[in-house]
Every structure is written in C-alpha cells, then in structure tokens.
Symmetry: C2
Subunit: 418 residues, 2 copies
C-alpha cells in the first residue's frame, strides 16, 4: 500500500459536523492500509469574510498583507481537522505551508509552486501520522507567505502527491465525478469512469468546472493519477483521470461541452493584402483580449472577411480597439453576434478516427442546427451555433456518441443558464 493524497474543499469543512465527515473519509482510507496526507481549504465562507474585513480597512489592500491574512483560513481548517481525526483515536498532525516547505515564487496572490520539501512529511508518515496540510498557501525561500490563486488547493494536493510519489490524488467535491456533459441539460448523462488529462483539460477549457486546469496540468506533468469523487458518497469511486497512454480503452468522444459566454465579431470587406490579420489580432493581444475561434475567408469580390469570438466581458474594449484599427486596415463594417454558443466534443480517441468530425456535422445537420464556425484541435472539435440551438445540439451529440443512458430524460431550465 502506498501514499494517498486527499483534498477537501471549503464546503466540505464548513462546520464541525462536516469536519467530522471529512475525518471519517480520511480514516476510511487509512483503514484501507494506506498512508494518508489530506489537503484542506479554508472553512466555508472564511476567505470571503477575511476579504470583506480587509476591504473595510482599506480599498486597496497590499497583496503581501492579503496573503498573510488569507493564509490563516486554511490554518484554522487544518488544526480543526487534525483534532477531529485525533478524537476518533488516530494519530494526526497539521502542517501549514511554511512547515511543510511548499516553496513558491515570490508573487503574492498567485504564486506558483517551485519545490516541495518532503523530509518532514516522510518523518511524520513514518511515525504513523495522518498529515493534514493547508492548501492554497506556500512560502518563499525567504520566509514570505504566499497564496496560489485560483485552483490553488487542488494544485497544492497534486503537487504534494507528485513530490511524495503518491499512488493517487483524490479530489473530493460536491459532484460524483466528471460527466460527459452538464447533467442539467442531459440528466441521464454518463459519468466517466476513466478520462485522460488531455480530455479533462479540454473539457475544463470549454466550460466544465470540476477541476481547475492548473491542477490537471500539474497532474499531467508529473503523471499523478487523479480521482474526482464525492465527499458525500464515499463508496462511489468517481472519475479517474490518468495519462492517455495508460488508458486501456477509451471512447472516441469523452464529453460534450458548451460555452455561451462568447460573442462573435465579424470584420467585413477587408482588402486582401498581407498583414491585415496580424494588425487586427496584434492590437487585441496588446490589450490582453483573448480571441478564441478565428476564420478568415475570401469573398468572390476579392475582399476578405475575418470572424472571431471573444469573451462577452471583453466585448466593449474589443469594439473600442477595432474602431481604431478599422481605419488602418480599411475594413468595411464591424458586425457583432451575441446569440451564439460554442458546442464542443472532446475525446482522445478522435486522433485515430477521421470520421468523428463528419459524424458531428451530420448529427447537427439532421437536427436542423446550422454551423456558423468550426475550429479543431487534436482532441477537440468545436462548432459555433445559434444560442437557441445549443441545448438540442448537446443532446443530439450525446446521443450520437453514445454518452447517455438508455432514455433521454426531460431537460429542465433554459440553456443560456448553462
């Protein structure tokens, strides 16, 4: 038996009762014969409360002092969880980021981990302890307290698992695993038993919120098997995320995701001369606006049009920038389309199967769904459709690629909520 790293989020440790539930999950893994290291976040709304306090003191709190402040949240959780485990008769010891030696860059509020010391972890494990480690925080070589930013606690857990060469890293959440699409749209959707890092990353990028891409990237880099599982159903094994090279069988399509937060911008009547696209996207990039799908097409009158999507919150500043660039590149009109949705299929298996894209397009056509734009990556195909068609597109694709159980249940809610 090896070392298992477990990670529990803030809602799992929100009050003393829930902390005892977590203690039970930890002890269950210990009783399986494994050594256990648990990573926890701050209790429930603690972080929000601390941020509110800081904002009451000053509008622009210094990021070093914010890290000093926020890192206390996890330190409270680890002490209480260690006490809870001890109260069930097991040896436990808590460690904050400084005590473990979770070494980070000196960038406050969004530091990246550069090293994890394992000496004390191994010593405490050898002494029979369950170790409870504060997530989300680290320390610079100079002793400054840092925090890791979004997805921080998941990343702490994965990085510790990598450093300890752990057998597995279990991320406990409020869902039962990774689903092939949003269960609110296709209620009888299949839960994936196994999925690859690459697929998980693509699903995360196109709207699945289970894991922050950063923790998946780290797991992929160090080849740490990840398991996403429910804090409330401990017998449910959830979804295992591993390297595609370790998967014995996989479906051509692992999941379907939709993203309704994009807006399409069309620049028409551009002169067909070199450098136009570079000017347009260079100006956007300089202003930190990410562009997603891009299509350039030559019209029969010899002019170009360029269509691309941006996040809707970047729309206003994108228009301001394009109004300036428009003169320079001699574009005709700027057309905006807000009623769009990006629907994507993701699957490591599509690499070897050239027919998948065709199957996707045919399935959408059979359901009278018009495709406005297409983009592809090695393991992902995305189609831009009318927002009003997104829900039926997802359902059609789940059926096409056999991602659902036998019956399609009734869909509740409107898609734009997705």
């Amino acid at each position: 038996m090896g070392i298992i790293v477990q990670k529990f989020g803030g809602t799992s440790v929100a009050d003393p009762n829930k902390i005892h539930n977590v203690a039970n999950a930890v002890i269950k893994e210990k009783e399986n014969g494994n050594d256990v290291v648990v990573v926890v976040s701050a209790m429930g709304h603690t972080t929000d409360y601390l941020i509110k306090l800081a904002k009451e003191v000053t509008k622009n709190p210094d990021s070093r002092e914010m890290d000093m402040l926020l890192s206390t949240g996890e330190q409270v959780s680890i002490a209480l969880l260690a006490m809870a485990i001890q109260s069930h008769g097991y040896k436990a010891i808590s460690m904050n980021g400084q005590q473990v030696g979770i070494i980070t860059e000196c960038i406050h509020s969004k530091a990246r981990i550069v090293d994890i010391k394992t000496e004390k972890l191994h010593k405490y494990i050898k002494e029979g302890n369950i170790i409870v480690v504060a997530g989300f925080q680290g320390v610079t070589p100079d002793g400054e307290i840092t925090t890791l930013g979004r997805g921080g606690s998941d990343t702490s857990a994965v990085a510790i698992a990598a450093a300890l060469n752990a057998e597995r890293c279990d991320i406990y959440t409020d869902v039962e695993g990774v689903y092939a699409t949003d269960p609110r749209i296709v209620p009888n959707i299949q839960k994936a038993d196994v999925i690859s890092y690459e697929e998980m990353l693509e699903l995360a990028r196109v709207g699945a919120n289970v894991l922050h891409p950063r923790s998946v990237e780290t797991a992929k880099q160090f080849n740490v098997p990840l398991r996403v599982r429910s804090s409330f159903k401990l017998d449910n094994l959830g979804t295992l995320i591993i390297g595609v090279e370790n998967m014995e069988i996989y479906k051509p399509v692992a999941g379907v995701a939709s993203d309704c937060s994009q807006v399409r911008i069309l620049l028409s009547n551009l002169p067909d001369i070199p450098g136009t696209a570079a000017k347009v996207f260079g100006a956007l990039a300089k202003n930190n606006i990410s562009v997603d799908m891009i299509i350039q097409s030559l019209a029969s009158n010899g002019t170009n049009s360029i269509a691309f999507t941006v996040n809707e919150e970047d729309l206003e500043s994108a228009i301001d920038i394009l109004d300036e660039v428009k003169q320079e590149v001699k574009a005709g009109e700027i057309l905006i389309d807000k009623e769009i949705a990006k629907v994507s299929i993701v699957g490591a298996g599509m690499v070897d199967r050239p027919g998948i894209a065709a199957d996707m397009f045919r399935s959408l056509a059979e359901n009278n769904i018009n495709i406005k734009m297409i983009s592809t990556s090695e393991i992902k195909i995305s189609c831009l459709v009318e927002k009003s068609n997104a829900k039926s597109a997802i359902k059609a694709l789940c059926k096409e690629f056999e991602l659902e159980a036998k019956e399609i249940a009734v869909v509740k809610g409107d898609l734009p909520d997705v």
Copy 2:
C-alpha cells in the same frame, strides 16, 4: 531617537475602525521621529470564538493543534493593522512569530521565550518600515508553532523591546495607568507617574490586574522601561515602570491592594514536635496548592496551631488533603474562615523607613479594624482583616499614606466585587 515598541490588546483592534485608531497611535510615535515596532493581540473575541470551534470538534483538543489554531488570531490582526498603516501613506510590514524568530521552548499553550532573532527586524526597520508583530505566539527551533499563555502578548512586546534594546515599551490598555489602589473603592485615587518593577510586581500579585506579572518580570530582568497608557487618550503619558535604582524620588507607599479570594485555614492543637509544618505544607505542595500567609503559634498549653491562607478555589481539595494529614500529625480541629480579606501596602521606599508597618497597624486600629494575620516582604506588608472591613481599611490606608487627592469621594459598590 530610538526604537519604541508598542503593544495593543484585543479590544484595541476589535474592528476596522479601532484598527485605524491604533494605526494613528502608531503613526504618531513614528512622527515623533522614532522607529516603531507594534505588537498586537487577536481581534476582540476571536480567541474565544476559535476555542469554541475547537470544543465543538472535540472535548479535549490537543494542545499542539490548539496553538496552530489560536495563532491565526494574531496573524489576522497584524495583516489588517499593516494594511491600515499603509493606507495612511506609511511603510508597514507584518510578521508572525515564525517570521520574526520568536524562539520558545516546545511547551504548547504556555511556552516561554528563549530567544528573539533581530536580523529581519533590523533589516525592515532600516528600510523605513513600521513593523507589526503577532503577539502571544512563538516557534520552536524545530518550526512548531507555540503560544505563550496568560499575559503572552505583553510578554512578547517586552521581550522584543529587550532584544532590540528599545528605548521603551508602551503597553496600551483601557485604563490610564497604574493607580495606587482600585479607583472603584477610592475614586479620587492618584495615578502613579512612575513606579518601580518591584512595586508593580507586588501590586500585580496582590490583585492589581493592569499587567501580568510575567511581562513585568521580563521588563525587570532586561531593564526595559515600560509605560502603561490609554489607547483612547494618546496625550496621556500613563505610568512609567522602571527599575527602583533609576527612580529619583519615590513615596514610601506606592499602592494599596486588596485580595478577597483567599480563605483562612486553622489547624489547632498540634503537638509541638519538629516536622509537623513540613508534613502539612509538603502534602499541600504535592497537590499543587499554593499557600500564602502562614503563622505558627505556641499556645500556653504547649500545643501549636498553624494558620494559613489558600485561594478559595483550592479550598475543597485542601480540606481533603488535610483530613488525611490530620491523623498523621495528630491535629485537633480544622477551622475554616471564608470572611477574610488581605489588605497590602506596597512601596519600594519602605525598605529604609522602619515606621511604615507601625503606621499601617495604628491606622487600622484607629478605624477599629482588627488584624487577624500579618505577613511582610521587603517592599510589602499584608494584613488579614474581616472581609467587611476591607473597604474601610483601603480607604484608611490611602489616607494615611497620602495616596488620594484632597477629597475622598463616595465609594460605590460592595467590596467583595473588588
């Protein structure tokens, strides 16, 4: 100009507004041209809240984990105070016990400071920072977080002042200084402008609550000038506490204190043979019961009686122990007197003035107050009186030794509250 260490307690930093008040007091000292190191406690009721949380998790929380938990309280305060100081345009940096290097023994919940590293403190001071240090906490050479127990934050401040060779350590409280007796008994009592460590220690031991004896002992040991002053009246200089050798003038009696929490126990008809007292007090000491005043007297019939006082909360266990010892030492009766109060006068000046004790006894006699027991130390004389006489004893002694202003104001409240 030198280094000033300031210490603010939990009520002074209880909310963002109060934290800004503290920031103003800190900045005022900085504007005086001094380098400032501020030591703060946890905000308001934070410590109580954290203890309650722990008790909800388990009845008997481990003391190591309690230290991990409680030390977060001060870490929140230092971050917020540093932010507040920065918001007024001054450079500030917070440091927890680990970051400073407040090295303690590895005794959780009541560690003693063994060393304070000054390298980083000096570095940050040199860079022009106001340094905000977490009180009450330290770290073992092995990196374990400890807390200092009662009077901890005051002791942190004094120890840091000693390590930095500071000009002064200012303890900000909710009173305006050290009074010659309880202002609730003698409302027109004088505030001392200067008092010696020794007097302060004796006053603290006999019931004055301004400073924990531990911080005064530390100040005395390292000869750190201490100032007790009000958080709310920054212009008031409070009371300066220094070594008696540095005092230019002092009164024979600096203060009058009363202690109503003692109970007198009398063992009568003891055979007059060696070793009896040793047996009685040995048994009590073995059970951690502190004995205060002791008088042994030989009766005319050739038997001894021993009278002594214990704290009322130790009374029950003291009686249990004495019931056992009684057989062995062949004592007659055990008599208990709960209606007693110890009234003490304290003053470094009484060393050279033999008449002070006589003045005390005469003053009490003139007020028809019977003295049941007497004990003396170099700078203190204590008399045991009836509890009902304690208030008038204090008033008489304040008058006798000229500790009050011209008029004696009306006394409010009953003495047993004192």
